[in-house]
Subunit: 107 residues, 2 copies
Amino acid sequence: MDYRTDVRRIKALADENRLAIMLALQHGEKCACLLLEELKISQPTLSHHMRLLRDSGLVYGRKEGKWMHYSISPEGTKSFRAMIRSYARCDCEEDATGTCPYKAEDE
Amino acid sequence: MDYRTDVRRIKALADENRLAIMLALQHGEKCACLLLEELKISQPTLSHHMRLLRDSGLVYGRKEGKWMHYSISPEGTKSFRAMIRSYARCDCEEDATGTCPYKAEDE
DNA sequence: TAAACATATTTATGGATGTCAATATGTAAA
DNA sequence: TTTACATATTGACATCCATAAATATGTTTA
C-alpha cells in the first residue's frame, strides 16, 4: 500500500506553529496579517505553513483584494479525523457504529 | 501554550512505516520478528520505529523471553484521537454531543 | 503612472529524522 | 559455560524540514 498522501496530511499537523494556527482559526476566519501578529514568526514562514495546511485540505483560503483570509475546512478536518481513526484504532475497541441511531459515522 | 508533547505524538504517526505497523497490529498483538517480515526494513530500523510508537502511547510492548510482543493501546489511540479532534475541528461543525443518548464522546 | 502595502516564492542554512552497519544486551538452548 | 538467537543501542550518513533574508507578484491608493 502507499501511505504517502496520508503521511503528508499528518505531517501538516505535526508542527507547533501549525497547531497554534489551527486553534487560532477554530472560532472563525482570520486574515493572514492577524495570524502574523499572534504567532511570533516571520511573514515567509507563515506563508509556508499556510500552504502546507491548505495543501492538506485542513484549511481553506480566500483572497479578498490584497488580503488572504484563512478558515478551517469542515470537510477537510472531518476526513482528516476519519483518516486518523483508520490508523489509531484496534479491533478490541468497541465501535459505536450501530449503537447510535443518529450519527455514529465519525467514531 | 506549549504544543511540544502533542507535536511529538503526531510525529509518531507521521511516517509510512509506522502507519503500516499500526495497520499490522490492528487485529491483535504481533511479535517484532513478524513485523520485521512484513515490512521491508532492517531490524534496527524497526526497533527505532517501535520505540517512537511506544513513547507516544499508541502501542504497548510486552516482553516474553527473548521476544517482544507489540499491540495497539486502546487508551492510547483513544486519547490520540481526542487530541487530534481538539485541533482538527471548527466551531461551525455540528457537535454530536447531546444528540446521541448512547455515546457521542468520541466525535 | 508611481508608491505603498499584503502575501507568495526563492534561496540558503541549521537542525531534526529515517536508515542501516556494527555492536551491545539479554535470553534460551546445547 | 558456550553457542545461538531476538531485540536494543550506537554511530554515521543522507534526506527532509522549519526558518528567515531577499526578492517577486499582485493589489490598492495617490
